[in-house]
Assembly symmetry: C2
Homo-oligomer: 150 residues x 2
């Protein structure tokens, strides 16, 4: 398990297959509300307990992309971190995530193409031992640090 | 172009390949801030103008999953709308999205598997005529409306 790089981001030469980073985020009512405000997605299954209670989910669930965003936060702030350019993401949703769930978002370097500087990270979101979501992030990683400008 | 279904969501039998829905969302500083709070992704390229100005982007950009969430809002609230169960999403990011950009999020029914009740929607986010992001959403759609419980 690795932590954030002191400079804010890892460069291509510092990465190796198998490096892993994770963070834990508690899904709160406030996070769901903030996500609804950001995305303009006020689907009642996310924001209306009375409506959601009558659905197959039997209660409110978090937006799928909210759980996904915890993984993208790992990729963008820890591994490879700032400097990486997000090119793509695949996501498969396995289980709903609910208010009070503590989501572990984990990213693991799966492959590195040194020629194109493209790195694929395997991403997973877990609640307890259960994988609720997984997928792959593809990023381009800088080969050297950008010198700070005065 | 179709609008939200009066019941909140389309059922499988009401969908046909080619149906399209879209919405327009202006990316504001407030949306980016809300998304950062929801996701815990405070990557300075999104929230720190002074930092972002020194990167290859030459200024702050929106979180990739924020633009993606506008598309997922179309899928979850218009087409097929409430009742659809999100199974998966692929995303390819083509261009950064900036504060002040008006994003058109569009979803089009690409294929319907009546056996499994799985529907694939082609999703695109545009700024002006330019596709900034695209991908596919896979959802399971109910065959009939769930009767409201008393």
């Amino acid at each position: 398990m690795i932590g954030p790089h002191p400079t804010g981001g890892y460069i291509l030469e510092e990465l190796s297959v198998g490096m892993t980073a994770e963070k834990h985020v508690t899904v709160t009512e406030e996070r769901i509300q903030r996500f609804a405000e950001a995305s303009d997605d006020f689907n009642p299954v996310h924001v209306d307990e009375a409506f959601a209670a009558k659905t197959a989910y039997r209660g409110r669930i978090a937006h799928g992309l909210l759980s996904a965003s915890f993984g993208s936060a790992v990729v963008g702030t820890i591994l490879p971190g700032a400097g990486a350019i997000y090119l793509g993401q695949t996501l498969t949703f396995h289980k709903p995530v609910r208010i009070g769930d503590v989501v572990t978002a984990r990213a693991t370097v799966a492959s590195i193409d040194t020629e194109s500087a493209r790195v694929v990270l395997r991403c997973a979101a877990l609640v307890g031992d259960e994988v609720v979501m997984d997928g792959e992030a593809t990023v381009r990683v800088p080969r050297r640090r950008r010198p700070a400008k005065a």
